[in-house]
């Protein structure tokens, strides 16, 4: 099966642009996964974690606060307002990203159960990296 093209854009620039095997998105109606050649769809995303399964099978997690996704036959474009990628070469880089992610979570005002899940998710993602 071919890979899908994924673009994640924030107002401050690109956060991810490349190929992926699959991507899991926090839709308003619940989490959903997208593989290559998914049928077209546009929907809103709520605060949560985007999981990208990359070509080398590793998983990258990106925390977002709000977004909209546009899927078509060719590629997946995700527009988000605020995003932090949980990645880094060293332990301290990951810790820094984790702090930034927590800051983003704090900035989301409404009390949503999704946020609690997101907090747990990014922590476990960070654990896997270390």
């Amino acid at each position: 099966m071919s890979n899908l093209k994924l673009e994640i854009l924030t107002p401050n620039g690109e956060i991810y642009n490349g190929e992926a095997i699959s991507v899991t998105l926090p839709g308003e109606e619940g989490e959903f996964g997208v593989l290559a050649e998914h049928s077209s769809l546009s929907t809103l995303l709520e605060a949560g974690v985007i999981d990208i399964e990359k070509e080398d099978k590793s998983v990258e997690s990106i925390l977002i606060n709000w977004g909209v996704v546009n899927v078509d036959e060719e590629k997946v474009v995700v527009l988000v307002e605020g995003a932090v990628a949980i990645r880094g070469e060293t332990e301290s880089d990951v810790a820094k990203a984790l702090d930034a992610a927590k800051e983003l979570i704090d900035s989301i005002k409404d009390n949503n159960p999704a946020i609690a899940t997101a907090t747990a998710r990014i922590e476990s993602a960070a654990q896997n990296l270390i």
């Binding site: 673009e7 107002p11 401050n12 620039g13 308003e28 049928s39 546009n70």
Partner: protein, 295 residues
């Protein structure tokens, strides 16, 4: 022949002005670099956002999604009131930057007046606001210090009124006018129709494969939320693009001013030398004729 001292004073004053304009140019160059970087990073997002909105609008227009009756996506035949939001700089000394924007606003105002459409003018930036106040054109509301320091939250708050009023049917259109950054040398004037979303450019039929797959009851909610973000971002992007353009315009204006001052000093120097030479000649003649008369 002008007085030697007068010319000297003038040379001094012009070279002082030159120093000031050169400093201002340097300041603008530094600020431009930062503003341009910010605008560049946002450009891609803004473009993609427009694309997503245009696609949805196009699908609605071509009736691919049935039963959606959202005001933001329907063309309004006879608008009664429209909002014009303009962005100008807070400061002058930037060439024709503000005047260009003001001219475009005046043109649009005249067009709407002809059609008997009421216009609510909402201003951002001291220069534009002052211009319309001086010319006794009524402003619906205005903010002064937002255009020099773009702030997402304040921009959101400002444009919120227009979005709400549009949804409530109090206004039938929203334009954002600003002078945007094209490259270091040129600015580009933008007159954007933000609401209702422009669907003219979208041809029916080229997206036949795509179908918007969303639950019927969520349509309205999703579109509402999306349109809010879209308009808010369009506003914010107009602000940051305008700041970048303002600095590039000022940089250019100050560069021209520095060059003009340089030319002026040059011609004043020539004048000064001529006057000095004339003074020396007169003095010599006086001495010689004095000596002659004593013989």
């Amino acid at each position: 022949m002008a007085n030697l001292k007068d010319i000297q004073r003038q040379i001094k004053s012009v070279s002082n002005t030159q120093k000031t304009t050169r400093a201002m140019k340097l300041v603008s160059t530094a600020k431009l670099r930062r503003a341009e970087e910010l605008a560049k990073r946002s450009r891609q997002y803004a473009a993609k956002m427009n694309q997503v909105i245009a696609e949805i609008a196009g699908r609605i227009k071509c009736n691919k999604i049935g039963g959606i009756d959202n005001r933001c996506f329907t063309e309004i035949e006879n608008p009664k009131t429209v909002d014009i939001v303009f962005v100008t700089a807070d400061k002058g000394l930037c060439g024709g930057f503000n005047i260009q924007t003001i001219k475009a606003i005046k043109k649009l105002l005249a067009e709407y007046k002809e059609k008997n459409v009421k216009v609510r003018l909402r201003g951002i930036g001291k220069k534009g606001v002052e211009f319309f106040k001086y010319n006794e054109v009524e402003l619906f509301d205005s903010v002064i210090d937002l255009s020099s320091k773009p702030d997402k939250e304040r921009a959101d708050g400002f444009i919120e009124t227009s979005i709400e009023d549009f949804k409530d049917g109090k206004i039938d259109g929203l334009h954002i006018i600003y002078n945007g950054f094209k490259n270091m040398m040129t600015q580009e004037l933008h007159v954007n129709t933000v609401l209702p979303v422009d669907t003219d450019q979208f041809e029916c039929g080229d997206e036949t494969k795509s179908i918007l797959e969303i639950e019927a009851q969520d349509d309205e909610k999703m579109l509402d939320s999306l349109v809010n973000r879209y308009v808010q971002y369009a506003m914010y992007y107009a602000l940051i693009d305008s700041v970048a353009a303002e600095h590039s315009a000022r940089m250019q204006a100050m560069d021209t001013a520095t060059n003009n001052a340089k030319d002026m000093v040059k011609s004043l120097n020539v004048q000064f030398n001529k006057a000095r030479q004339a003074a020396i000649t007169t003095e010599l003649i006086e001495i010689i004729s004095g000596v002659e008369s004593m013989k």
